[in-house]
Symmetry: C4
Subunit: 209 residues, 4 copies
């Protein structure tokens, strides 16, 4: 009987997409709650306010990096779901695991902003990039194995989704390892990888057209 | 005249689904606001930061348990709504009651994380699992009685949705009673029941295929 | 030229519905952030914790009342939009005004919870019930005048939507006036009116079937 | 291979619309978290509470202005997306950039409310109006160049969307420059421009019908 229930559960991909959009929207907007404005008691001039804003630098970098991370995972999940024909209970729970990792990102971001020179904070942040990537890989492998992928999806698209995750995660891991030089080298490398995924391919595409 | 108004109110199941997805998304993401990062003033080394993160243990357990709870109820409500043909004013208000209980979960979670050895906190948390379960049971009973269920829903599916709620709630209640031994026994039992619903049936299904 | 732009703006009722569901979902969930858990430093026993929870009474009443308020307005707006055939720029801005009032409700709720014996706090809360009601009335009047209502909407439905708002707001206003006896009389009256709209008609309907 | 992946990524305009609605909904509702209620310790009478609420004046003005800003950009983005036939990876990232600027608005609002007489705070706020406007302009230019706009969109509509952004941003910039007289002159000018876009065209339209 539980197996009957499990067969009817979680079939609705639209609901999964709506829950995901909601979680990404809240996570993206919550990040900004950690951008604290300067304390009014310590500001006495225009230049003082500008200096106080500039001092928020490390917070801004982690904030922008986290928004990029969220954007990349949102686009990646969307691409997968666009190619999946129907939902299934297990797929839903894999994506709930993915979303669990996403909800933790505001925590990792806050931790990294506060302890930006600590390798432990960077390690936690990297784990928070690794985990959703692993869940998305699992999701695609599961959908492939259980024939949930839309029939009209070409073989090279199926392969490219897996390769994309593996290459991106390898680059992130390489970036994370650089923290043994210094955490800021690591952060710079991760941001560059992210910007490559968000911006650079567009430039390349434009040249071809 | 109010009865005319009531007949035209709350017919839109998509709006109900969208409101529910929004509330679950916010509740799932708000939980993480209670994961406080260690205070920078007390951390002086990498190992100190790792120790401080490990000390957040109880918070992590209640956080993960609450995410599981939310995921289970989200999937359960979705399954019901997938089988309901059209909305009705009363059904909408039953689900608003369900969502009311869901919005309280971040409160119960915070309470349990702060007072993890107190039976009173565990009791409140358990009531917060019981209440949405009861509302979902009422919702299905109401939809059955007023013929709102899709005509193509087989009889065994109708029965399995009720049974599922009763069995799950019995297990949660049994888990809650264990708090008279110790609250951590109770929490472990509830998490095991939840993991059974999230993970175990998948393993079983996989064997059959 | 601006009038051309205004003719093409805000036509998408689904986007308006999605924004509204998002705002209601966040507002409903944010309310619970104001339910503060007791301070761990002051709790030394199970009964102490239970007593501290009971002392949160006034907060719970305003919380539940605000959830009811939000639910009633969400259902009311949904009913209107279900009967509107197409969007229009002006209608969109009337509903943005409605949503503006909705986003203020967590503020009014906090104010009333903190100053529950003050008539000024109750007055602000009542204004926060009056404003969205007035916007919904304006929305329906506007949609009627500009022929945006679905052609198959019977005349008595059109009338009942206006009447419903007028009667409900008259009852709320009568309840608010009772604050000159005492604010708790006023709150009790408003909650009773709300419960009447959420629960009582269901009982009546059930008798007829 | 990345170019293949990029061709299949971000095609789903509904997901983009849903994410946007979520982010706008959260941003609109989070603004109210900064409306702090008066401290109970300092209020001893009804008139004291009314005076304390009146003293919140500057916070209310920035709050209402930010809600207007969000409403205007939400309506503007919606109008664009209504005329776009299909999604594309690059368009998605342009809109993620737009949404990034939107998530910063609660920060700029808080900054301006706290430092309302500082030109630096007003400058940051103005940049936060300029940035999403620039992204929307870029989005429309990109969609035009890559033929993503619906075929049935008349030429004058295409032109009016660009002109609208340029005129509005010129007026905002002119308003911002007035801060060299005083920041409140600047704020008043920006609010008047916003009210013009939200209210005035409606009055004009009404006369013609």
């Amino acid at each position: 009987m539980p197996t009957l229930y499990n067969r009817i559960q979680g079939r609705n991909l639209e609901r999964l997409a709506a829950l995901s959009d909601g979680i990404f929207a809240v996570a993206m907007t919550l990040l900004v709650l950690d951008l604290h404005i300067p304390s009014a008691a310590q500001i006495h001039s225009e230049s003082g306010l500008l200096a106080a804003l500039a001092a928020l630098g490390p917070q801004w970098i982690t904030y922008a990096m986290s928004f990029l991370t969220l954007g990349i995972f949102w686009a990646g999940q969307q691409t997968q779901l666009n190619h999946i024909a129907e939902g299934a209970r297990d797929l839903t729970w894999i994506h709930l695991g993915f979303l669990f990792a996403i909800t933790l990102l505001p925590f990792s971001t806050r931790l990294l902003a506060e302890f930006i020179v600590y390798r432990a904070a960077l390690g936690v942040y990297w784990l928070n990039i690794l985990a959703p990537g692993a869940m998305l890989y699992w999701s695609w492998a599961y959908a492939t194995r259980t024939h949930l992928i839309k029939a009209d999806t070409p073989e090279e698209v199926r392969a490219s989704i897996c390769k994309r995750i593996l290459i991106a995660q390898s680059l992130y891991a390489a970036g994370a390892v650089l923290c043994f030089i210094a955490t800021w080298v690591s952060i710079a490398a991760i941001v560059l990888v992210q910007l490559n995924y968000a911006l650079a391919p567009r430039l390349r595409l434009r040249k071809r057209r």
